[in-house]
Symmetry: C2
Subunit: 411 residues, 2 copies
C-alpha cells in the first residue's frame, strides 16, 4: 500500500482515492470513492474524487516535477504551497470568489479543495457563447480587493515585505518572462504559428523596432515592479463560472508584480471570446448580441475595477502619503497603463507563442481564423504602443473596434 507520509510521488487515480480516504478528514468511513483525472491545464494533475454513496465530492490537485505542457519546464512543486496559501488569502480578501481549500500536503505537494463541478470553465462557456451578466461585477471586486489590499497602499510596509519574500516565485515567473515577454517577439522555435500568419507576424511584429523597444520596457516592469500580490495567470481558463457565481482558481503563478497584469489578462481573454463570436456565430443578430455583450463586459470590467479601486483606497489607505490629493488617481492611471500593455502581451503570446487559446484554435475555417488572429494582433500592438493614453473602459473597447476596422470583414 502506498505511503503518503514519507516521500513525494506522482499519484495515479487509485492512489488519489486511497489518499482521500486515508489522509483527509472529508469523507466518512463508509464512503465508496471513485476518482478521475480531469486536468487539462499546462502544469498540474487534477483529480475529482466522489463518494458514490453520499454524492459528496472533492478536488485534489497535485503538482508534478515538470510541466505537463513541456518537459522543458522543470518546476519546483513549491508552487503548490503558494497556490494553497494564496487561495486562502483570496478567501479572506475576496470571499465567495474562490474555491474553499480543505488541506495542503507539503509532502505529496497536493491540495484538496472544493469541487466546483456545478460550474463550468469560463473559457469553454464563452466558446459556447454563453453570457454571464454578473461577471464584470464579480471579477472587478475580486481584482480591486486582491490587488489593492496586498499593496503598500494598505499593508503596513514591513508586513508587505514579508509577503514579497514569501511569494518570490522564480520558476513560474520565468515561464511568463519567456512565453509572454520574450518568445512572441522573435522567430523562436517554440512559437506555434498558424499557417498563413507568418508574413503578417514578421512584418507587423518582429520587424517593428519601436514595438520591440516598448516590449523591453514592459518586460522590465514585470521583472521589477513589486506592487501587488497578483494572481499571475488570470485568464478565462482560471475561472469557474455559473449564473450568479464566479470562482477564481489556479493562482500558482502568484507573486508581487504589476497590478495591471491581472486586469490586462482578463481584458485580453474577453477579446479572444469576442473574436471567436465574430468568427463562428453565423446568425448576425445572435453574433451582434454576443459580441456586444463582450465589449460591454470589457468596458464594465475596466470601469468598475477603477471605481472600486478608488473607493477601497479612500476607505483603506494607511498613511497620510497615500491620502495626498491626486495620488490615487495617478496610481490607478499607472495600473491602467500596465493593464493596456499586458492586454497586448496576452493577445500576442496566445496567437504567436507556445500556448494558444481554444477560443482561437477552435475556429476551423481558414478565413475567419486568420481574420481573428490578425485582429487580435492589431489590437495587441495598439494596447502596447498607446498604453499611456488608454484609461477608460471606452478606450479599451475603441482599440478593439479600431483593430477590427483596420483588418476589415472576412465575410
Amino acid at each position: 500500500m502506498a505511503d503518503f507520509t514519507k516521500e513525494y510521488f506522482r499519484m495515479s487515480e487509485s492512489d488519489v482515492a486511497l489518499y482521500a480516504h486515508s489522509r483527509l478528514d472529508f469523507f466518512d468511513m463508509h464512503a465508496q470513492l471513485s476518482c478521475c483525472e480531469i486536468g487539462d491545464g499546462n502544469l498540474n494533475y487534477v483529480f475529482r474524487v466522489i463518494d458514490t454513496v453520499s454524492g459528496k465530492s472533492i478536488i485534489i490537485k497535485q503538482a508534478g516535477p515538470v510541466a505537463r505542457i513541456s518537459d522543458d519546464f522543470k518546476l519546483s512543486p513549491d508552487r503548490n504551497r503558494i497556490e494553497s496559501e494564496i487561495l486562502r488569502l483570496h478567501q479572506e480578501l475576496a470571499p465567495s470568489f474562490v474555491p474553499e481549500v480543505y488541506s495542503y500536503d507539503p509532502i505529496m505537494n497536493c491540495c484538496a479543495m472544493e469541487d466546483l463541478s456545478d460550474h463550468q470553465m469560463m473559457r469553454l462557456a464563452l466558446i459556447e457563447h454563453k453570457k454571464f451578466p454578473q461577471f464584470a461585477e464579480h471579477i472587478s471586486t475580486f481584482m480591486a480587493n486582491t490587488l489593492l489590499l496586498t499593496s503598500d497602499v494598505v499593508l503596513e510596509h514591513k508586513a508587505k515585505k514579508a509577503m514579497v519574500k514569501n511569494y518570490i516565485n522564480p520558476e513560474l515567473c520565468e515561464i511568463s518572462e519567456d512565453l509572454v515577454y520574450t518568445e512572441p517577439f522573435y522567430d523562436c522555435p517554440r512559437n506555434i504559428i498558424t499557417p498563413g500568419m507568418e508574413g503578417f507576424i514578421k512584418e507587423n511584429i518582429w520587424s517593428d523596432q519601436a514595438l520591440l523597444l516598448e516590449t523591453a520596457k514592459t518586460k522590465h516592469e514585470f521583472l521589477t515592479n513589486a506592487q501587488s500580490l497578483i494572481h499571475g495567470d488570470l485568464h478565462t481558463g482560471s475561472i469557474f463560472i455559473k449564473e450568479g457565481s464566479t470562482k477564481v482558481f489556479d493562482p500558482e503563478f502568484a507573486f508581487y508584480g504589476p497590478a495591471g497584469y491581472d486586469v490586462g489578462n482578463i481584458v485580453a481573454n474577453l477579446i479572444f471570446a469576442w473574436a471567436n463570436g465574430k468568427a463562428t456565430i453565423l446568425d448576425p443578430t445572435q453574433r451582434g448580441d454576443f459580441c456586444a455583450y463582450l465589449m460591454e463586459t470589457i468596458q464594465e470590467v475596466v470601469d468598475l475595477f477603477s471605481k472600486k479601486f478608488l473607493k477601497l483606497w479612500k476607505e483603506q489607505a494607511r498613511t497620510r502619503v497615500e491620502g495626498c490629493p491626486g495620488f490615487k488617481e495617478y496610481y490607478l492611471g499607472t495600473v491602467l497603463r500596465d493593464t493596456s500593455a499586458v492586454a497586448g502581451h496576452e493577445l500576442m503570446r496566445r496567437i504567436i507563442g507556445l500556448a494558444p487559446v481554444k477560443d482561437i484554435t477552435i475556429i476551423e475555417e481558414e478565413k475567419p481564423r486568420l481574420w481573428a488572429e490578425k485582429t487580435c494582433l492589431t489590437a495587441a500592438k495598439m494596447f502596447i504602443m498607446e498604453r499611456e493614453r488608454i484609461k477608460t473602459g471606452d478606450d479599451f473597447v475603441k482599440v478593439v473596434l479600431a483593430a477590427e476596422k483596420q483588418i476589415g470583414d472576412f465575410r
Copy 2:
C-alpha cells in the same frame, strides 16, 4: 570571562579586545591589544583594536538591538549579516573600493574588517575643504558596477530573485521610508528644524500640494521598484577617502531598490559640501576654487556613471531583450530621473528631518546657515519637480546654480 559563543550581548571595549584575541585568527598570540570605540554613526558600535607590539589593527563593528540615534528604532541585528555579505559582494563587483571583511559572527552580530585609519571619513575631509580629484572616477565605477551587475539586465532572473529574497530588509527600509520619504513633508515632531527656517519650510515645502504629490510618487517608487541591489545609504559619511583611494562601507541599508537612490545620495551630499564651502570659506579665490571643484565633481559623477553604465551594459547585457536598440538609453534615463528625485529627497531630509549633516550644522553664523539651508531646499524642490528632464551632469549643476541665484547672496 565573557563567553562569545552562546548568546548575544553588547560588548564593551575590553570585551572586544578579548573577542579579537580569542575568536579571530588575525593577531598573533603575543599581541598586546588595545581597543577603543570610535563609532559616530546612528546605528552601530565600531571598535578599533590595535596590537601595540606589531602595530597591526582591525575594525570590529557590532550591531545593537536599538539604533544609537534613537530608541524608537528597534532593529534586527540581521543587518550585520546583510552588511558583511554585501561588503563581500561589492569586493567581487567593484574590487578596491570596499574594505576587506575578515569574518562575520552571527551570534555576536559583529564583523571584523580592514582598518582604514589611514583614510578619512569623506564628509569630514570635505568640511576641511580637501579636494579628491579621483573621487568621481572611483565612485562612478563603484556605482555602475554594483548597480548594473546586480540588476535583471545582467543577472539571470532566477538568481536575481534569490538575491531579492535574501536582501529583503524591512527595518532599515522603514527608516528610509519614514525619515527620507515621509517626515520632512509635514510638521512631524521628530523633525529638527533650524530656528529661522520654519516659515520658509512651511511656505515652500509643507504647503506645496504639487510637491507633496510628487513625493508620494517617489516614495512608492522606493517601496516597489526592485531594480538593483543598492547600498541604500551612500552619503559621504559612508565613504573613507585618501588621495588615490576611495572605500565605501556601511551597506547595512542594502536591499533591492531603485538604482538612482545611490547616485542621488552622492550628488546631494556633494551639494552639502558645496554649500558648506560657500558659507564658510572666507577667501574668495579659495572659496571659488573649492566650490568649482565640487560642481565639477557632481558633473563628472553623473556623466562618468552614465558612460560606464552604458559601456558595461553593452559588454554584459544577458539577453536579446536588453540588446534592443534604444533600451539601455531609456533605462539609464529612468535611473537618472530617480537620481534627481533622490538628490532632492536627501537634501530635504538632512535639512528638515531627524538626521542633519555636519556640513550644514557646523555653519555657526546665522546668515550663512540660513542661506545654505534655503539654497539646498530650493535645489531639492527643483530636483524632485523637474526630475523628468534632468539627465546630464550639466543639468544637475545648473539646478544648484539656479537655486543659488534664486536665494541670492548672504554676504
